[in-house]
Symmetry: C2
């Protein structure tokens, strides 16, 4: 069976794996991204680790998932904030030159979406939205079996829809983005602001510094009955539900797949999100749209990159 190498490049770690065309991972390696070393040095390490996984006779393609902005068609990385010094670098050509197989590049959220679509939760549908709920909120959209790349690979930025026009400032510069309201970073920031304004919470006795407060701690405190934590967590899930109802209303996919660390904290997250979507998205048959957890877990990055390599220009 043909094999594919998937390379998942993030700002904190890089994961490389070899899988068959059904997404069975045969071997993989993970190592930290020492961003201070810059592009050339990290590229050399990627090539060295890839060489160990590469089998000349069976590996037919290499897929790469990387943080954007990037140009998926030209295979270039365009100054991503989490990879300083990667300024308009020809990543695809640099790797293709070594291994001499087709190499394909996609932004990491789109790659993850393709991974879940081909190997995970979405493998039986043709229309799927993937959202990753973590420190930020990213996503990828697949409709009629094709990834929605968007203009300059900017499609699927589901975390930056405006949910609350006068809401909190988002890192992107807009106000009231879903990411500012419901991401891990957003939830922690809102919580800290409420503490600073005089609200009380058991969480203050759990941490030494307010900076230690995370969405996970807030979710745990909410479960333990802390009223401020419950208020902030429930509000985040409420806005998440609105964001998903908007996506569902606009593109009406067969399935919404939710991945990322936040989906693990609140057990009732899926129940509550489905309830809000049903209340809000009145013109779509919500009961026929599945809202489900991602299935690939920590392998979503590698398997997403594998899907990118497998599909090549057909994605």
């Amino acid at each position: 069976m043909d094999k594919i190498i998937g390379i998942d490049i993030g700002g904190t770690k890089i994961a490389i794996g070899r899988a068959d065309s059904r997404g069975n991972l045969e071997d993989s390696v993970r190592f930290p991204t020492d961003v201070s070393r810059g592009y050339r040095s990290i590229l050399e390490e990627i090539i060295e680790k890839t060489s160990k996984l590469f089998e000349r006779d069976s590996v037919k393609a290499i897929g790469i998932g990387c943080g954007g902005p990037l140009d998926s068609k030209k295979g270039r990385i365009l100054s991503p904030p989490n990879l300083p010094g990667w300024d308009d670098v020809p990543l695809v050509d640099d790797i293709k030159g070594v291994f001499n197989v087709p190499v394909y590049l996609e932004n990491d959220a789109n790659a993850a979406a393709l991974g879940e679509f081909y190997f995970g939760a979405g493998k039986d549908v043709s229309n799927m939205v993937y959202m990753t709920l973590s420190t930020g909120i990213g996503g990828g959209i697949i409709l009629n079996n094709k990834l929605i790349h968007g203009v300059r690979d900017s499609g699927g930025e589901v975390g930056h829809q405006t949910i609350l026009p006068d809401g909190p400032l988002c890192n992107c510069g807009n106000r009231g983005c879903l990411e500012a309201l419901s991401s891990g970073t957003g939830i922690a920031k809102i919580f800290r602001e409420k503490l600073a304004s005089g609200r009380e919470s058991i969480v203050t006795s759990w941490v030494k510094e307010p900076e230690e407060i995370s969405a996970k701690i807030i979710a745990d405190a909410a479960k333990a009955g802390d009223s401020l934590s419950k208020e902030v967590w429930d509000s985040a899930i409420y806005y998440l539900g609105i964001g998903i109802s908007n996506i569902v209303t606009i593109v009406s996919p067969e399935m919404v797949v939710l991945g990322g660390s936040l989906t693990k904290y609140g057990e009732s997250l899926f129940v509550n999100v489905r309830k809000i979507v049903k209340e809000r998205a009145r013109l779509v048959p919500v009961d026929e749209i599945k809202i489900v957890p991602a299935q690939l877990g920590d392998n979503v990055g590698i398997l997403g990159a594998v899907a990118v390599g497998l599909l090549g220009d057909e994605r």
Copy 2:
């Protein structure tokens, strides 16, 4: 050259036309929809009028645009609110049985989107969102050259995204939908509520009854310097801009085409919408996404239906 018949069925009027495959309308007829007559009688009139336009040798297909809900694959109309008595009727089979050419059905907003995509503003792009801003706000989305049908033909309901979670009640049952904030009906309702709460406006001297107040009158009064009208109109355009920025953020199309009566009232509508989208949609290259007026005018219904017939199962 092959010809196509397009049939546009609305709750107040029906328009039927014959066009060539480039969308040049050769002949057409329009007549009121006497909904009280029910399905069979209106169907007979549609067939009679279509017969006069039908040319046996050249007409290769018939396309129909009709208000939903409907089943585009099965060619059935499913109890649309504006066509009482059309309960699960086999419209496509009923027309195919008479003319013996392929007949295709699409909901009216999706048909209009296809019309603008093939014959109008979008003919040079592959990814386009069409929005009709009228008494309601509808739309259709075409990505990778394919219409996004959605589950049970519910895709593209761009008017029912939530813009203001605690906003005014929408006809659909949700709160703060774009349609409740920025449609003709929504604008007039918000305006009347402000009058009822004691606000003053020159508009009260222009009409006999509050029910006569329309979005057009409010737009005219805003231009004449009426402060309440300007406030309500500007607010509607502000929320419209947010709605479009959300669509742009999620699917990042090459072009957004705006049609419908509202686009004709405020001269600065496009300028203001573009400004808001640029402020809000920070992660997409907004300068490369065209936001433009529809080009087909009053023929969008017929030519949309023609596009449905022309494309058939390829749409």
